[in-house]
């Protein structure tokens, strides 16, 4: 069945299918399944049981929830640290016993009884912790043993003291209030549990210990190598679990004012089920308090619901067992296949119809006709440099380029045989621009905007912009900063090409063709970065116009160049300068004759253009083929295009043999020569431009005749400023 193009356009462009993949990249996406389960359990029992939602019923349920939730939180923390605690049931029972003994036999105040219960729990937890954390016994067996030991101890104690407890005449109002009272309509126990959950959440997500626990659970060895005290961290998780069971035991004792033989038996199964059903991974490292909360509510609702429907303890345990087994299977399958699901659904292409039928064929006769002239370029650093996306030269003629190793390398004039690592930044340095003081500003792929002073010192300028309100992925982060240029006022205009892919996956953005590129501006006065334009299909090269009143922006996958006004009456507006080119534009730079050089990273092919009109085809392609087989735009053939201020194409340079410069991502004119870079190339080309001004340099064209802002306390600069005071200052700079 063939879908009409307009319908396919509607389906693929109107439905935000890319959000599925973006949501899956989020950690909280793990919560969706437990959340649905919780909703289902509440819906089922809410309809099956009359009066389920009645206030009295809810109050009773939440009272139990308070105790149960605290135990589940403790267990969640242990599981997050990669362990398991089966002994929570016995610790709980012992704490109940100690609370009751404290109140009814020793006649202690409620607060001291609470301390007694917590101390009992903490002591038992510490016992587990020493055995598992420091002596490194197996968590499962150890806590099974302590479960049995604790349970036996409790049985002995309750037989010995049970009668006396029953006979005790003591009445403790505060103790009873904690058990049965309410505050603002909510039982005290759930309030305590709420505070406890909040504290635990802050501990896990905001504190050093919390991060240590996640790290140890995620990978014990890596955590150890990172210098985290693994044994102490594991020890502490069991102590926390013991303390939780202690608090919960105290609340139980307060609610029932006593202890019986069955207290806390089977609690470990219920708590474990709750933690796992909530989505906490048994393998450790993945989990949260929110998950524990959802699991606890689901399990408690179900067990209570089953009892109220008339099912006994046996069937209750059976259902819990099934739930646990199901959750464990789901946990393992999900952890194993999540990245596969993500890889399959992440690429979400949109429909896009390219227009323009100009040809770049050498015999096509059009203005864009490519040639072989660039194959004459002599190579610099052949085989030594890897991935010089952009190149720039200083006034002494030294050549700088970023490499895929995260370095900015300097080659020394005049022959460029000697080189040194000028600065190591990391990431993938892409676009370069030179400031009035000779500092290099660079967009570093996957990192942000950086500045390298003349002495090689690296300063981070910007790694984030304002976040848009509707974004799922964090679009404040600069994902693929690509090219930058410096305005006359010192503001740095730069592009972030896509919010969907990391810098090294940049070509995948063309398959999706989703307009997520942005134009950003960094203001050195405030140190803030602002998004001024978004919705560009791979925003790429940026170049300040010769008059300094507008910037030119290349929009790669749209094959267009735009002019964005930063000054004058049209400031803040954008207009299209060149549209529908037969190639994909990359960096743009100034030429000595008042024109501009533009690099083409590739050329359009009819098959790829057609595939843009068939988003379903591209979607299936990314799902059914391995990445190496995907259809790409032709990035094996590029070139250099020269255009004037009106957008008219003046000339082209190409290398159709593909031997020297298959893909061109940048070029810089310097004293009559053109230096050519390519992000996938192993050389920098050096090409003599016939008839070019042999004195012109890019830096002079930006900064000569202009007064740089004076750094205070720098006498030489201040002197220079005085000297040039007579010459006309640019507008607004005096």
């Amino acid at each position: 069945m063939r879908l009409p193009e307009s319908l396919s356009r509607l389906i693929y462009n109107a439905i935000p299918s890319h959000l599925v993949g973006e949501i899956l990249t989020k950690r909280w996406a793990d919560n969706l399944v437990p959340f649905l389960l919780l909703a289902a359990v509440i819906a089922i029992f809410g309809t099956a049981i009359n009066g389920f939602f009645a206030p009295a019923s809810l109050l009773d349920t939440t009272r139990q929830l308070g105790e149960f939730l605290i135990v589940v939180i403790g267990l969640t923390i242990v599981m997050l640290g990669g362990g398991i605690d089966l002994s929570v049931g016995s610790i709980y029972a012992l704490s109940v016993f100690m609370s009751v003994v404290g109140i009814y036999l020793w006649e202690l105040p409620a607060s001291l009884a609470l301390v007694l219960a917590i101390a009992t729990g903490g002591l038992c937890g510490a016992f587990n912790g020493v055995l598992i954390g420091y002596l490194r016994l197996r968590a499962f067996l150890t806590t099974l043993v302590t479960l049995i030991m604790g349970r036996s101890l409790y049985d002995i104690l309750i037989i010995a003291w049970g009668r006396e407890l029953q006979m005790s005449p003591v009445l403790n109002d505060r103790f009873d209030y904690i058990g049965t009272g309410s505050l603002g309509g909510l039982p005290v126990s759930i309030l305590i549990a709420g505070v406890f959950a909040l504290l635990a959440h802050v501990l896990l997500s905001r504190s050093r210990l919390g991060w240590h626990i996640s790290a140890v659970g995620g990978s014990r060895r890596s955590a150890y190598n990172a210098g985290i005290p693994v044994r102490r961290t594991v020890f502490l998780t069991y102590v926390i679990s013991g303390l939780s069971a202690g608090i919960a035991g105290f609340l139980f004792a307060a609610r029932l004012s006593g202890a019986g033989p069955g207290t806390g038996s089977g609690l470990e199964l219920a708590a474990l089920t709750a933690a796992v059903v909530g989505g906490n991974s048994l393998g450790g490292g993945r989990g949260s308090i929110a998950k524990g909360l959802m699991g606890a509510v689901a399990v408690l609702t179900m067990t209570n619901g089953l009892i109220r429907l008339g099912y006994g303890t046996g069937s209750n345990q059976l259902v819990l067992g099934f739930m646990l087994a199901f959750a464990v299977v789901l946990d393992i399958r999900w952890a194993k296949n999540r990245h596969k699901v993500l890889a399959e659904v992440y690429v979400a292409p949109v429909h896009h119809r390219m227009s323009g039928d100009e040809s770049a064929l050498p015999n096509g006769g059009g203005a864009y006709a490519l040639n072989d002239r660039l194959s004459d370029a002599s190579p610099i650093a052949l085989g030594e440099v890897e991935g010089p996306e952009d190149v720039i030269l200083d006034e002494d003629g030294n050549l700088y380029a970023g490499t895929r190793h995260g370095e900015i390398v300097r080659w020394f004039a005049p022959d460029y045989r000697r080189s040194e690592v000028f600065a190591h930044i990391g990431g993938f340095p892409l676009g370069l621009a030179m400031d009035h003081d000779g500092a290099i500003k660079t967009c570093v792929g996957a990192m942000g905007l950086y500045s390298i002073a003349k002495d090689g010192e690296v300063t981070r300028l910007s790694t984030e912009t304002n976040r848009s309100w509707a974004s799922v992925v964090d679009d404040a982060r600069l994902r693929d900063p690509n090219d930058c240029d410096i305005g006359p006022d010192g503001r740095i205009w730069f592009t972030d090409s896509t919010t969907r892919y990391d810098a090294h996956d940049w070509v995948l953005d063309s398959i999706e063709s989703r307009p997520t590129g942005r134009l950003l501006v960094y203001d050195p006065k405030t140190g803030k970065t602002k998004t001024v334009r978004d919705g560009l299909r791979y925003a790429n090269g940026v170049c300040l116009a010769h008059d300094g009143r507008s910037i030119l922006i290349a929009e790669s996958w749209a094959c267009s160049v735009h002019r964005y006004w930063i000054d004058g009456p049209k400031a803040g507006s954008m207009e299209c300068l060149i549209a529908d080119m037969p190639g994909y534009p990359d960096n743009i730079n100034r030429a000595s004759d008042g024109c501009y050089w533009m690099a083409w990273l590739g050329v359009r092919t009819p098959t790829f253009d057609l595939s843009l009109r068939h988003p379903g085809f591209r979607k299936r392609m990314t799902r059914r083929l391995p990445g190496d087989d995907w259809l790409f735009p032709n990035i094996n053939t590029g070139g250099v295009i020269k255009f004037d201020e009106t957008g008219r194409i003046v000339g082209t340079l190409g290398d159709l043999t593909g031997k020297s410069h298959p893909m061109v991502t940048s070029m810089r004119e310097h004293k009559g020569e053109l230096f050519v870079g390519g992000i996938l190339n192993n050389r920098i080309g050096r090409f003599r431009i016939p008839g070019a001004d042999s004195e012109w340099t890019s830096w002079k064209s930006y900064w000569s005749g202009k007064t740089p802002p004076v750094a205070e306390g720098d006498p030489s600069q201040a002197a220079r400023r005085r000297d040039s005071a007579e010459t006309a200052l640019p507008e607004g700079r005096a």
Partner: protein, 359 residues
């Protein structure tokens, strides 16, 4: 497991192709082979009366076997698509125009355009048996012999093998419904081995044409073309283009494929080709991106050079390759004589010369 059936609708269905492994393990034997002669678009080879005949476009050239300048034998109005010879020295020459002409011998001047009521549409291979029996592989009833890509992309299966007895004058359709038969080999028992290009397999057809074609070798990693008897037993099989996952995907994508065929020049299709890298308008796949000045030899491509050596039961035993970074692509035909295998690389515009001891 049983749940796979439930989960399958939600899973992507991977497009797979047979790997180049085992007997098809890549090497550079074709890429490094001696060039016997340069020739534009060599389509067919034939050793005939001590000379190597090469069909190059519309020209029939005769090269001395020891090398040297060719003698032009004949120029036709349309390109030649296949060659065969009779024991008496007569030549059968198939033309893209859809006819087979006999040159020399007792049937000199005969022109075959129809066999048993079927018009010869795309003669892709010829074979002779005895003194006067001619087999013609007719690639398609819709497209001409140089338009295999269109037939493949249209899921064509209208090819046939025709038998014509020039002495008796009776013709017969031995098999039809074939997906572009592109090579013929007559077995000693008079059955025929036919390479069915678009279904990437070899089938056996009995001489009387009464039983259905039986596959003898399937799941080839390329599209098979001509077959030639090998000197030491068995056969040589030319594979004119590689299989490619993207092409297989396009074959299953009706809307895209139809638009592509309607709006884009055939050389630029996502389809197997005899050569690639001729224009920057050709499709590019991710693995084919030139990185640090290198085109990876394993890159998925539209063209490839591949000859397989088959044993006497048509199982592949070894192969010769020109990989994605090479130029000797689109091997259409071979001829072996005196320990030398000649191979016509249509995409590489050359006739190659390989010592068969090396294969």
């Amino acid at each position: 497991m049983w749940w796979d059936a439930l989960l399958d609708p939600f899973r992507g269905k991977a497009v797979t192709i047979p790997p180049m492994d085992g007997a098809f393990r890549p090497n550079t034997l074709l890429e490094t082979a001696e060039t016997f002669a340069e020739a534009a678009h060599p389509e067919a080879l034939l050793v005939h009366e001590g000379r190597l005949l090469v069909a190059s476009g519309a020209d029939l050239l005769a090269f001395p076997l020891e090398g040297g300048a060719p003698v032009p034998l004949h120029r036709f109005e349309t390109p030649i698509s296949a060659l065969a010879a009779f024991p008496d020295g007569g030549l059968a020459i198939a033309l893209v125009a859809g006819e087979v002409r006999i040159l020399g011998g007792r049937f000199d001047g005969r022109v075959v355009t129809e066999v048993a009521g079927r018009r010869v549409h795309a003669p892709t291979a010829l074979a002779t048996v005895g003194d006067g029996v001619l087999y013609v592989a007719d690639g398609s009833a819709r497209f001409s012999a140089d338009d295999w890509q269109s037939d493949l992309m249209a899921h064509g299966a209208s090819g046939a093998v025709l038998r014509l007895d020039l002495v008796e004058g009776d013709g017969r359709i031995v098999a039809d419904g074939l997906a572009w038969p592109a090579g013929l080999l007559v077995e000693p028992d008079r059955s025929l081995i036919v390479s069915e290009a678009s279904r990437h397999r070899l089938v056996r057809i009995t001489g009387d044409g009464r039983s259905k074609p039986q596959p003898v070798l399937a799941n080839l990693p390329g599209y098979p073309a001509r077959l030639t008897r090998a000197a030491g037993g068995g056969a040589w099989l030319a594979l004119m283009a590689p299989r490619n996952r993207l092409v297989e995907l396009v074959l299953s994508e009706r809307a895209y494929r139809e638009d592509m065929m309607a709006g884009i020049a055939r050389d630029l299709w996502i389809a197997p080709q005899m050569s690639s890298g001729n224009s920057f308008l050709e499709p590019l796949q991710c693995g084919g991106v030139v990185t640090m000045g290198v085109r990876k030899p394993w890159a998925p491509g539209r063209s490839y050079g591949l000859i397989a050596r088959l044993d006497d039961r048509f199982r592949p035993v070894s192969s010769l390759h020109s990989r994605a970074d090479g130029r000797r692509h689109g091997i259409k035909d071979m001829a072996e004589i005196g320990g030398v295998l000649f191979a016509a690389s249509r995409g590489g515009n050359a006739v190659l010369e390989i010592e068969t001891g090396a294969a």
